[in-house]
């Protein structure tokens, strides 16, 4: 019988939740790495017991942990992330050049084909890769070396590379997103990169349609249609049907188009999910009601999903890494909150239940469907 494993990164450790395919009863293990920030934990698609975790602390810096038994035991791997060559500078908050400085790993993306190959998105924004299971990391510096790198600027949360989407149909193609530089695509395995921001409009930029500088919060893709991407931008929900050459807004009837997460149903490529957040100055749900919005039309037309979710006095946030789906026949949808709840729906969003509710603030949620 199928099982589901949910990997949760929080401000104070990692937690692993497991259930059978019914997804009603959950076993919780953790905290793993108690007291440390776990920005992201993710498993290899080709070896689900191979997990990678980004563990960090303001005191003691960055660690990378690896498990070969589904999170029962872990071993620290190489934690040396050194920028390739002379790091150069990007823009600082005051508009002055600022040297690139490594701070932490925001996102780990295991390869679709090799459990020893993993991509790491880091702050200050850059892309690293290991091909030896985490024993050593090397920068794919063509991204940072893109001509615009010196103009990238951090958002209030830092300048992190948070989204890494390999194209399942083309090993040379990958999409990444950076707050607040925008989104980029490589068609040559990471050697060169192209900003793909045409159609984005950001009012906070002096030039709202600039090539770089957009605060992209998250991008999602259905594996069967890698040319169709959905984006939750700082404001605006967007989609592209041509691998980022042109974006169009699909916010439609959302109560607010600010938010962080976005994801795609495992079996319906036109069904997408967001969690609207009131605004960039009020990071909580509108009206104190926690609602997921689902579109079955690839955007524009949205329906609120609130069955089982708190509908009064709810002022949590749902951060960019904190939503995922499983691939069981009835698609499961999961998200975590800064209030420490992880909510799950076993019926594609129609109804929800908290599968754990008093964790530290949730930074990331990933789901593995196990056979």
């Amino acid at each position: 019988m199928s099982k589901v494993r949910v990997l949760v990164g929080t401000r104070k450790g990692a937690f692993i939740l497991e259930s059978d395919g019914k997804r009603q009863k959950w076993d919780v293990s953790g905290p793993h790495f108690a007291g440390w920030e776990l920005y992201h934990v993710k498993g290899s698609p080709v070896d689900p017991n191979r997990l990678y975790a980004s563990q960090s602390s303001g005191w003691f810096g960055q660690l990378i942990q690896r498990s070969s038994d589904g999170g029962k035991t872990w071993e620290p791997m190489d934690n040396k992330f050194v920028y390739d060559g002379v790091p150069g500078t990007h823009q600082w908050y005051d508009g002055k050049p600022h040297p690139w400085e490594f701070k932490r790993v925001w996102h780990l993306e295991p390869s679709l084909t090799d459990p020893d190959t993993v991509y790491a998105g880091v702050e200050d924004a850059a892309l690293f890769r290991t091909t030896d299971g985490g024993k050593s990391w090397h920068e794919l510096s063509g991204l940072r070396g893109h001509g615009s790198g010196s103009r990238w600027q951090p958002g209030a949360g830092g300048m992190g590379l948070h989204t890494i989407l390999p194209d399942p149909s083309d090993p040379q193609r990958m999409f990444i997103a950076i707050s607040a530089a925008g989104t980029f695509r490589t068609d040559d395995g990471g050697a060169t990169w192209k900003p793909i921001t045409k159609g984005l409009h950001s009012q906070f930029l002096p030039d709202p349609t600039a090539e770089v500088g957009h605060c992209v919060h998250r991008i999602a893709m259905h594996k069967s249609r890698p040319n169709v991407l959905f984006m939750q931008k700082h404001w605006d929900v967007m989609r592209t049907d041509d691998a980022g050459e042109q974006w169009r807004e699909v916010s439609g009837n959302l109560p607010t188009d600010f938010g962080f997460v976005i994801d795609v149903h495992a079996h319906e490529p036109e069904t997408i999910y967001v969690v609207p957040i009131k605004s960039d100055s009020e990071h909580f749900p509108p009206e104190g009601k926690l609602r997921v919005f689902r579109s079955k039309t690839g955007g524009d037309e949205w329906e609120p999903l609130n069955k089982g979710l708190p509908q009064s006095d709810c002022y949590v946030d749902v951060l960019r890494e904190a939503m995922a789906v499983d691939s069981l026949d009835s698609c499961g949808v999961y998200f975590g909150t800064t209030g420490g709840q992880v909510y799950a729906s076993a019926d594609a969003g129609d109804s929800w239940m908290p599968i754990v509710r008093d964790l530290p603030a949730v930074l990331s949620v990933e789901v593995q469907t196990l056979k």
């Binding site: 401000r11 007291g35 440390w36 602390s57 303001g58 005191w59 003691f60 810096g61 960055q62 660690l63 620290p76 934690n79 040396k80 050194v82």
Partner: protein, 97 residues
């Protein structure tokens, strides 16, 4: 020497660590020996590249804050002889975390 709790857990080390140092006993020689025995601590106390102390890590010994002393300055005899521990301490966060 004594490590903060998080680093003891990471290194799977006990309460107090005894290190044998060949040559002058300095912050650098202690940390070199520590990281040689416990490679997983590399980058957690001092920066991988610059080898500078991380901002929120402090070094204490003999009731003195040695955090701003030269990495190559000799440590007190009491530390060198093993009478007093060299303490690696996580700085107070002020409640933000």
């Amino acid at each position: 020497m004594v490590l903060p709790a998080h680093l003891r857990t990471l290194a799977k080390a006990g309460g107090e660590i005894q290190l044998t140092i060949a040559g002058p006993v300095t912050q650098r020689s202690i940390l070199d020996a520590l990281e040689a025995r416990y490679p997983m601590l590399q980058g957690t106390i001092r920066d991988h590249v610059t080898q500078e102390r991380r901002a929120f890590v402090r070094f204490f010994a003999c009731q003195e804050d040695l955090s701003h002393e030269s990495l190559d300055a000799p440590l007190p005899d009491a530390v060198a002889s093993g009478v007093e521990p060299f303490l690696v301490v996580g700085a107070i966060a002020g409640g933000i975390y």
